[in-house]
């Protein structure tokens, strides 16, 4: 047993190294004065300064932020309602009618579908709408629609899990005291669901920041996002300011995950 444990431990450390090597390398290279990046040429902040002067990177950062915030706002509202509704439906029906099972199972489709297939389905769909009614040019609006669509199921699943820990007597008490269903939802249910809603929103935000496929296929001229920009650079040849950009993105992601972890224990 002892021997196996040591082997498992060594293997685990090796896996951690594999997971982190790309991230550490990007961060180190963003401070590397050697332009070609084959060796260490001394510490520099030059690439961060270059990034600041890089118009297309700044525009892409702006687009990414607009897209992430807008889609997260919409999907958090819709996804929260959906998650809460699913929980209510499965609870009230008791023995779970077929409709609810299908509604729940259907959420797995957008979660598991390969992103390229989802993106392509949207292109075809919007293409058909464009042919029929001549609206829906590729661009920010379609990207927001696409992002909200893959965010909703994740928000709903997180909120649903949180709702399962909800004591229904709180809502019943509010109703007995004369609150309308809407009032009871806004003043009692929603505050109780808040940790789940916040966790769902953070999840949606990171999903949007991480997305490449949907943005790649649906972006129009002028609505390029950071991942799409990095892709174009990686195909043509990288400039060091991309390392700086990626490092900033990495720091942002670590912060989001950390805040998410910090929120969760308070919710429990």
């Amino acid at each position: 047993m002892k021997g196996w444990r040591a082997v498992g431990g060594a293997l685990s450390i090796a896996l951690y190294v594999l997971l982190w090597a790309p991230l550490v390398m990007v961060a180190v290279f963003s401070f590397n004065a050697s332009r070609l990046g084959s060796g260490w040429g001394g510490f520099t902040l030059e690439w961060y300064a270059a990034l600041w002067r890089n118009e297309s990177a700044l525009a892409a950062a702006r687009n990414t932020a607009v897209l992430a915030v807008a889609s997260t706002a919409i999907s958090t509202v819709i996804g929260t309602l959906l998650g809460y509704g699913l929980w209510m439906g499965t609870r009230q029906d008791g023995r779970r009618s077929g409709g609810w099972i299908w509604a729940e199972r259907s959420l797995q489709v957008p979660v598991l579908i390969p992103d390229v297939v989802f993106a392509v389905a949207l292109i075809l769909w919007f293409g058909w709408i464009r042919q029929s009614w001549s609206l829906g040019e590729p661009g920010m609006l379609l990207m927001v629609l696409g992002h909200v669509s893959f965010q909703i199921p994740f928000v709903a699943l997180v909120v649903r899990a949180r709702a399962a820990r909800l004591d229904p007597r709180w809502v019943e008490a509010a109703r007995d005291l004369g609150a309308t269903p809407v009032e009871a939802f806004l003043k009692v249910t929603l505050p109780l669901l808040r940790p789940g809603v916040v966790a769902g929103a953070l999840l949606a935000l990171t999903l949007s920041l991480d997305d490449f496929a949907v943005s790649f296929f649906l972006s129009g001229p002028g609505s390029t996002t950071l991942p799409v920009l990095i892709y174009a650079q990686a195909r043509r040849g990288l400039t060091p300011d991309i390392h700086a950009l990626s490092t900033l993105l990495l720091v942002g992601t670590v912060a989001a995950v950390w805040i998410g972890g910090w929120w969760r224990p308070r919710g429990r």
């Binding site: 997971l19 991230l23 390229v116």
Partner: protein, 287 residues
């Protein structure tokens, strides 16, 4: 009733922007490509015939090969992450307190960082001037003309690292709930190490492994960024083929047929999971 009402906006949205587009993609796969790449009537089976290898010049194995290669790659990555995730999940579960959170966090953070960043980083790490390739060469593991990147090695390494957290998280969720007394009982009864694992531990973590397998296999079937950036144009998978139809080749109906092939894999996996009791339990780790 109130349940359906609050579900309304979400279900309507998903119907309009997920389910109907997916139905439409099936319809589009039977359409004909126009001269400028647009789609139109008549209905045809031509796209599926091409997918199966028929072409104007007779049989061409290119597309069936890509399909087979994609499945092989996806299953290979799934198997590799499965083998790797088990020791890692047990390693994390064996820590206590803060170290367990750190161990888990060190898996979660790379999982949330942007795939594009991790992928281009492998371009440099595995590149000909990188220390990995130089070390391998000096140790004689790599012949003079060979490279790690671009090629299948780089694609596999990057896909393995990309999907490892998808497997580790559900497996860990199962390991955390493991009832250790069963393993102890098996040991007391004289079972060997392998027998304990096979009969007392594996059945308990199987739901997590199964969930992980689905969460790796399905996205891996459509992965196109990694083969695109790390394969150097020599490695085509189904995802790249789909991307090409909507980019330079501009053949949307054929692209739709290729997507349907990926959807068939998805449907089969969902049916299999549904029979085994669903993903919900193992998926709880995300919430």
């Amino acid at each position: 009733m109130a349940g359906w009402l609050t579900c309304g906006p979400g279900l309507l949205w998903l119907t309009a922007f997920v389910f109907l587009p997916l139905v439409w993609i099936v319809g589009a796969s039977f359409l004909t490509r126009g001269d400028e790449g647009q789609m139109g009537l008549p209905w045809t089976l031509e796209n599926y015939r091409r997918l199966a290898g028929w072409s104007e010049l007779g049989f061409d194995a290119l597309y069936p090969q890509v399909l087979g290669r994609t499945l092989l790659m996806a299953m290979g990555v799934t198997a590799a992450t499965m083998v790797a995730a088990m020791p890692l999940a047990f390693f994390i579960a064996a820590r206590s307190g803060v170290w367990r959170a750190v161990g888990l966090g060190l898996v979660v953070v790379p999982f949330w960082t942007n795939l594009l960043i991790r992928t281009y980083a492998w371009q440099i790490l595995l590149g000909a001037e990188g220390w990995l390739a130089q070390t391998a060469r000096s140790m004689g593991w790599l012949a003079a003309g060979e490279t790690l990147y671009p090629g299948w090695t780089a694609v596999f390494v990057a896909m393995f690292c990309d999907f490892l957290p998808f497997m580790v998280l559900p497996v860990y969720a199962s390991v955390e709930r493991l009832d250790a007394s069963l393993a102890e009982a098996a040991a007391d009864l004289g079972a060997s190490g392998w027998q304990i694992f096979r009969h007392a531990i594996l059945p308990q973590i199987l739901p997590g492994v199964r969930a992980g397998a689905v969460m790796v296999l399905l996205p891996a079937t459509g992965q196109f960024v990694i083969p695109d950036l790390l394969g150097g144009g020599r490695t085509t998978l189904l995802g790249n083929l789909i991307q090409q139809q909507f980019g330079p080749s501009r053949d949307w109906p054929f692209g739709a047929a290729l997507s349907v092939a990926a959807l068939i894999v998805l449907a089969m996996a969902l049916i299999w999971v549904g029979r085994k009791g669903g993903l919900t339990r193992a998926g709880e780790v995300e919430s």
